[in-house]
Subunit: 242 residues, 2 copies
């Protein structure tokens, strides 16, 4: 059930050039701006950068490149974290590029929170492989969390990558096993609520959902249906020139 | 010590668009042809496609796009396997895209060998993370090999991805643990010997090594030095327009 029932959703997955998480700022910004311009050209009135890495490294470039409103996935979840009133220490799990940008640290500092940022580069490949419940995935999560908890005692853990919510339950279990009572916040979920509060609505009926991918539409359909929790039917192949 | 001491080596890493292993044939062929044309333009007299995925999915396109000789990493290792005379059953470990292309199966069949192809999508991320000796990596290798050995009893295992030689020792240990006496062949090593036998030599002195990368030269230097076993100094940033 979409949060904005009457909306016309257009989703673009830059699957030919993913993952962004291990690339440089210049490359990520170039790719993200190309995608944003395409979406504006399709008539989008509001853009959501549904990727923490692109938000962390390219939000300002995207805002400068298009004429419509742009929401990233970092600010809404940090604002919610600061409103929780449960202490100032936050652990952020994210890709290498997001961590190296220190975007979460800067946003948290602006809200009076102290962020420890932990790069978890193996989680996206494990999730893409579909190993959501495997012991190997649990051991990788355990390794990352144990390393992170050596230097902080957070009350909140932010899932700073849109893949991670698929293993949120496992992350909660490992936190508990390691003696942490931290609450887990999903940046994507918080962002979608923030967007729903901010955009105009055309009513409750007639919403549509269009999908574009820059590589194999078949793979996009398969993985995307898992993320969305319902089957994605039409996906159009898009060439961004890369 | 280079196998062709007098040669001028030019290496291009398309790091902005890697990994190729999970992308479609059309996208991989487009990227690989762009790289090949760049190298021919730099004066290369012979191209080595030092990537199993690009060899499996784009060798013919590359041969059609350039006027110089092109060697892939699949044919040499399969020819060597067939010359071993140790039975007709071969297990190939590779990326998802290489496996889906069935390039190894076709080459093996042409040499009278029967290939079982096993996709191992987590091995590249684990190797890029530097987890070469971790228990998690051993468990992932164990999982893939156990699944593969359910349907075959190979005498030879081909490492069908240029990342895998960095964990060749671990792969040998797990094969032994699972009761397999298979010998492990490294496609990159066999290919370089085949290339050295086939090209003209300018003598033993004056060889050079030039490096290009399409993304962060810093990361390329770090990872590339690990692969090469010696420090890479000058790396030039290259924009292929993607």
């Amino acid at each position: 059930m979409p949060l904005i029932p009457g909306a016309h959703y257009i989703y673009l997955g830059d699957t030919a050039r993913l993952p962004y998480g291990a690339k440089s700022q210049a490359t990520i910004a170039r790719y993200a701006v190309e995608s944003a311009r395409f979406l504006e050209g399709r008539g989008c009135e509001h853009l959501v950068i549904a990727c923490n890495t692109a938000t962390a490294l390219a939000l300002e470039e995207i805002r400068g490149a298009v004429g419509v409103g742009v929401t990233g996935v970092i600010e809404p979840v940090v604002a919610m974290a600061s409103g929780k009133g449960v202490g100032s220490e936050v652990l952020v799990l994210a890709t290498a590029a997001t961590v190296e940008s220190h975007a979460y640290r800067a946003h948290c500092a602006a809200h009076g929170l102290r962020a420890t940022e932990k790069a978890c580069p193996l989680l996206v490949p494990l999730i893409e492989e579909g190993w959501l419940d495997r012991e190997v995935t649990r051991e990788v999560v355990r390794t990352y969390l144990r390393e992170a908890l050596e230097s902080c005692s957070p009350r909140l853990v932010i899932l700073g990558c849109t893949h991670y919510p698929l293993i949120a339950g496992l992350i909660r279990e490992v936190l508990e096993e390691l003696g942490s009572g931290a609450e887990v916040l999903d940046s994507a979920q918080v962002t979608s609520v923030a967007v729903a509060e901010g955009v105009r609505r055309d009513g409750d009926g007639g919403g549509t959902f269009e999908c574009f991918a820059t590589d194999s539409v078949e793979k996009f359909r398969r993985l995307g249906s898992g993320f969305l929790g319902q089957e994605i039917l039409g996906v159009e192949l898009l060439d961004l020139g890369g």
